[in-house]
Amino acid sequence: MELRGRAHKFGDDVNTDYIISGKYKFKTLDMKELAKHVMEDLDPDFAKKVQPGDFVVAGRNFGCGSSREQAPLALLNAGVSAVLASSFARIFYRNAINTGLPVVECDTSEIESGDELIVDLEKGLIRNITRNKEIAIKPLPPFMLKILRDGGLVAHFRKYGTFNLG
């Protein structure tokens, strides 16, 4: 399956308080409402700029900080189709897979905001159309790949009633 969209580039250590501020995430379960505030403290216009299918592209340690699942959910509801980063913080990584947001570990140093990308999760490759470059994707651990392929952990549990990761 191919994902196609434009890159929105951020730096290192983008924490979950930046992705969705604590003052919103405690007030409501309405993810569409939270999506309006996604990345607000880093880029106040991001929620308006992002088009369905676009990518968040970042450096190291994306998603560090709090465990709140509202972070990947807000990104998904804002239309982000995948997050590409050179490394991820562990709880965010798990939460993203669980909610069906693909998290792609790769060298993002040569991707800039506005680049058009095609991300092929099956082939394990990213094509940067704008810069005519190819980037390899670090494969997901097998348990995580299974959950993502099932459409997230809720879908996995509806299917099997428990963890079926063998």
Partner: protein, 422 residues
């Protein structure tokens, strides 16, 4: 081949012989959610088709992050949690009981060798009791509520050996801030951090919680220590559970071993807006502050309040500073009242709030204003953490926070601490 603490606990709980990088599904001893994460967990539980919570006597919801509720929307989420917990016969800790990471050890739910997951990133706190305790998200919690299990990747371990003794006026908070500054915010990502050495053994159990609590701030999955006599004494006082201590094997394999001599350490401060932006207090001394916060799962315990009271005794909070005090639990609050500590803090000018997370996470109890500097005993200082992205948060020990509250500027606490003891 020998095993680390993490490898041993995950081997035992999965019934398999596992080492770092193996993937396992393991039975979990205790599960927890707080009021920021449980409502989503309930939604996922229902979407998964969950009908009952497996072993509800080992599953707790805690209302602590916005307790008491400051807004109608929050109240609705609290009600959702209460109704679910009651219907499913789970443990419920409601407004005023305290912070989840104080309650789980205090009420005896976790101990040496336990495998614990909590829908809160600072679940690693109980590593100080030799428990493999880690933070997960809401949907993982829902899965664990249905199945009683969780999947884990067995982490590699980085060992921190702390030689020497922390000098006068330098505390476990200063030590963990220093270590995070050394390795960086992703210095231990995905790893088990083991903390050992004479400096650790010399610490009280309460002081050890502070260190394990902040393991996640260097990216670690768990922040483990061994169960020595101090830990067993603490556990026996708080729990009737059956626990089994887990020590690393002498020939266990470590990804990294880092050694430090802490005898020359100064009080440390994490400067805005990163937890690993650590400097000695001397570098930031004199910075004006507007709000001081004493509390949170990091430093809201009886010892922390006692240290702060020893500095504030007979003195006053600076007129330009608000000092917010949030005891970590009802029991801490009661014990501190019995010792006269709360009265001393109040007489000095502290504003005491409900046992809970207080202003740490920006929900209530002291949101700073534009351009204000906050000095706090909390564990995070990201921009906007306290709900104002135009405020600046400095993290420090209870002693440093108390001394700074008196002078109105960031202050080395050693000038203010009584030499003869508290």
């Amino acid at each position: 081949m020998g095993k680390t603490i993490a490898e041993k606990i995950l081997s035992k709980k999965s019934g398999q012989d596992v080492y770092a990088n193996d993937l396992v599904v393991a039975k979990v001893d205790f599960r927890m959610g707080q009021d920021g994460t449980s409502p989503l967990a309930i939604r996922s539980f229902e979407e998964m088709g969950g009908e009952r919570v497996a072993e509800p006597e080992s599953c707790a919801f805690v209302i602590d992050h916005s307790a008491p509720s400051p807004l109608e929307g929050v109240s609705a989420l609290h009600k959702l949690m209460r109704d679910f917990a009651r219907k499913n016969k789970m443990i419920l800790y409601d407004v005023g009981e305290g912070v989840c990471h104080q309650l789980l050890p205090e009420k005896g739910h976790v101990g040496p060798g336990s495998l614990v997951i909590g829908a809160d990133s600072h679940t690693c706190t109980y590593g100080a009791l030799n428990a493999f305790a880690t933070g997960v998200g809401s949907t993982d919690l829902a899965a664990a509520m249905i199945s009683g299990k969780m999947w884990f990747k067995v982490p590699e371990t980085v060992k921190f050996v702390c030689h020497g003794r922390l000098p006068f006026g330098v505390y476990s908070k200063d030590l963990i801030l220093y270590l995070i500054g050394q390795v960086g915010a992703d210095g231990a990502t995905y790893m088990s951090a083991e903390f050992t050495g004479e400096a650790i053994s010399a610490l009280s159990v309460e002081a050890r919680f502070t260190i394990s609590n902040m393991a996640v701030e260097m990216g670690a999955k768990v922040g483990l220590m061994e169960a020595d006599e101090k830990v067993w004494e603490w556990v026996r006082r708080h729990s009737s559970g059956k626990f089994e201590g887990v020590k690393p094997d002498p020939d266990a394999c470590y990804a990294r071993i880092l050694e430090y001599d802490v005898s020359g350490l100064e009080p440390q401060v994490a400067k805005p807006h990163r937890v690993d932006n650590v400097a000695p207090v001397s570098e930031v001394a004199g910075t004006p502050i507007h709000q001081a916060v004493l509390g949170t799962c990091t430093n809201g315990r009886l010892e922390d309040l006692r240290i702060a009271a020893s500095i504030l005794r007979g003195r006053k909070v600076h007129p330009d500073v608000r000092l917010i005090v949030a005891p970590a639990s009802r029991q801490v609050f009661l014990d501190a009242m019995d010792e006269g500590i709360i009265q001393e803090l109040v007489r000095a000018g502290a504003a005491v709030v409900t046992p809970g997370c207080g202003p740490c996470v920006g929900t209530h109890n002291g949101i700073p204003s534009d351009g204000e500097n906050v000095i706090s005993t909390a564990n995070r200082n990201f921009k906007g953490r306290m709900a104002n992205n135009k405020a600046f948060i400095y993290l420090a020990s209870p002693a440093t926070v108390a001394a700074s509250a008196i002078t109105g500027v960031i202050t080395d606490p050693r000038e203010y601490l009584p030499r003869e003891g508290l």
